[in-house]
């Protein structure tokens, strides 16, 4: 799609969807709350139960879902462009494996400390993600090659390694530990406090701006490393900065939510089919669309299965896969 106006329309529609989700989803849930009562009094009073539910429970969770969905989709766009592989996702370089290992290690060891408002599991998961990225890069630099295929293979190798360790931890864990490991590994959104949300959104915001400033370089890189180089892109620098930024964003999110699958794969895919490969549009559209998609999935997962919840990681896959398949067949039919 070449028409700038058409792409802008898609961007505006996506922005509308994003805002609709941001304002609408906190009202959905097993307990019905009224719009008027929520905004009746400020500051929040303890006896205004509707406002309590809205601000302290649902809005926090919606904000986390938006941040998580947006940054996964953003990272997905980056990994696909830089590795020139439409199947790449934020977890391709082993971030999911590393953070899963960190989380299950924390559960197994059972430490109860907390730093800066983040739990041990979160901190360990973040450290694990950083460890896996470090290992992938060390492997690549030992091989003296930062080519897409080297990074991909190194990432897959590291993932398998950590997955084996996760299984081992799962095997030796007792029943309650195993349950909370499983819960974490599926990926789910829990309510976190506003302070943590603030830190997370700052990190993700800066990360997005860095990546967005590389839009044109990503356009060129997604066509080929040599082509990009011959057109004046400092490829090694752009690849390193964008992949590290995307990995950090993913690590931070995954540390809080667990590895929620498919958002980072499907959302960039859908927008690539829809508006094409221009990252100046693809990045903001995917971020807003990913945020809205994950939040909608989570809203459905927590609202319609009361009194329990379905983990959102299950839901993103159940909804996302048919959508993606439909789009692929649709595109094939169009030629």
């Amino acid at each position: 799609m070449n028409n700038v106006r058409a792409k802008t329309t898609v961007l505006i529609v996506t922005l509308g969807l994003f805002l609709g989700v941001l304002l609408g989803c906190p009202f959905a849930g097993p307990t019905v709350i009224s719009y008027q009562k929520v905004f009746q009094s400020w500051p929040l009073s303890l006896d205004n139960q509707d406002a309590q539910i809205f601000f302290n429970v649902r809005l926090r969770r919606v904000l986390l879902a938006l941040l998580a969905g947006g940054s996964m989709a953003c990272a997905g766009v980056v990994f696909q462009a830089v590795l020139r592989n439409p199947l790449a996702c934020p977890f391709t370089l082993g971030v999911a494996g590393g953070s899963s290992f960190g989380a299950v290690a924390a559960i197994l060891l059972g430490f109860g400390l907390s730093v800066g408002g983040f739990s041990t599991i979160t901190l360990f998961a973040f450290a694990g993600a950083l460890l896996s990225i470090g290992m992938v890069y060390t492997l690549a630099s030992v091989l003296r090659s930062y080519a897409a295929v080297t990074l991909l293979l190194a990432g897959i190798a590291i993932s398998y390694f950590f997955n084996a360790l996760v299984l081992l931890a799962y095997y030796v864990a007792d029943f309650t530990q195993a349950y909370s490991m499983m819960h974490w590994l599926i990926g789910s959104l829990d309510v976190i406090d506003f302070g943590s949300l603030e830190k997370l959104s700052l990190l993700i915001g800066i990360g997005f701006l860095i990546i967005f400033s590389f839009s044109r370089e990503l356009n060129l890189l997604s066509a080929g490393e040599e082509l990009a180089k011959s057109k004046g892109v400092s490829t090694v620098w752009v690849i390193a900065v964008s992949i590290i930024t995307a990995s950090l964003m993913t690590s931070a999110v995954v540390a809080l939510t667990g590895p929620i699958a498919f958002v980072g794969l499907i959302i960039p895919h859908i927008y690539r089919i829809w508006i094409g490969n221009d990252h100046r549009f693809l990045l903001p559209c995917s971020v807003l669309g990913g945020a809205a998609f994950l939040t909608l999935c989570d809203t459905v997962a927590r609202s319609f299965f009361g009194p329990t919840e379905v983990p959102v990681g299950v839901f993103t896959a159940l909804i996302g896969v048919p959508v993606l398949l439909w789009l692929l067949f649709h595109r094939r039919a169009k030629g």
């Binding site: 044109r216 066509a223 080929g224 057109k231 004046g232 094409g276």
Partner: protein
């Protein structure tokens, strides 16, 4: 005036020990039209990539307008030297216009949009290469000849002084081979571009190029006017093929490989 000056250039790939370029010395004048010939693995493409700054030499130096190439910033290099690779398929769908637009990258700041002037440069490049009519089509759906012309247009959008083409006629039929060489020749003549073409097309190179560089096993075997460089004896020693030389109308030569080659070995 010297445009490229290559001094004692050596290069090898870390993983391929049987291939290397050794002590290459070559000077190319501004505005020259040079063909680089040689068998597979002679180092033609590698030499072009070194000159385009896509590979770093192991030792020796490449000067561009008397400046060492490795001291030229990446974006500035892309304003001077454009490289056209063999036509490939891209992993994601890209339109012809998007690919040609990429040629303006070195001229744009980080947050700068293309100006009307940038757009008209792209438009001219598309028209020069005869691909304006399908600027909105998807590159991956084009034929081989069209793809090659789009890549050429993208290189021209860089408004370069030198154009390096790596086997541009590979997998093209006769008509498109001829048309591409005519196009390259016209660009050289009308715009004064310094053009270097690595190719296997002996006869086309013989007919269109001003100067030929013949390579074998990473070394330059012969360098000069086509008449001096291409002789049946030398073709046999470098390319390992016996040829007949036929005179054409303008008293140049046409080389026809003798068959069967295998039986004579």
């Amino acid at each position: 005036m010297d445009y490229f000056k290559i001094q004692n250039l050596s290069f090898c790939f870390p993983a391929a020990s049987n291939f290397k370029l050794e002590s290459i010395n070559l000077t190319i004048q501004k505005g020259e039209l040079v063909g680089v010939l040689g068998p597979n693995g002679a180092g033609k493409s590698t030499l072009l990539r070194l000159m385009a700054g896509l590979l770093q030499p192991l030792s020796g130096e490449i000067f561009v307008e008397s400046r060492p190439l490795r001291s030229v910033r990446v974006k500035e290099r892309a304003m001077k030297i454009a490289f056209v690779s063999q036509s490939t398929t891209f992993p994601f769908p890209l339109s012809v216009w998007e690919i040609v637009e990429m040629g303006r990258h070195p001229f744009l700041g980080r947050f700068e949009m293309m100006s009307a002037q940038d757009k008209s440069i792209c438009e001219r490049a598309l028209k020069l290469c005869d691909v304006w009519d399908f600027k909105d089509r998807s590159y991956n759906e084009l034929s081989g000849g069209e793809k090659q012309r789009v890549l050429l247009a993208s290189a021209l959008a860089q408004t370069p002084q030198a154009l390096l083409l790596d086997e541009p006629t590979l997998s093209l039929d006769w008509e498109h081979q001829l048309r591409l060489f005519e196009m390259i020749h016209k660009l050289h003549r009308n715009k004064g571009l310094t053009v270097i073409v690595a190719t296997h097309e002996l006869n086309l190179a013989n007919r269109f190029m001003d100067r030929l560089v013949l390579m074998k096993k990473g070394k330059i075997e012969a360098d000069g006017q086509p008449v001096q460089v291409l002789t049946p004896a030398r073709i046999q020693s470098v390319l390992n093929v016996k040829v007949d030389a036929l005179k054409d109308k303008s008293n140049g030569s046409y080389f026809v490989p003798k068959t069967p080659q295998a039986a004579e070995k």
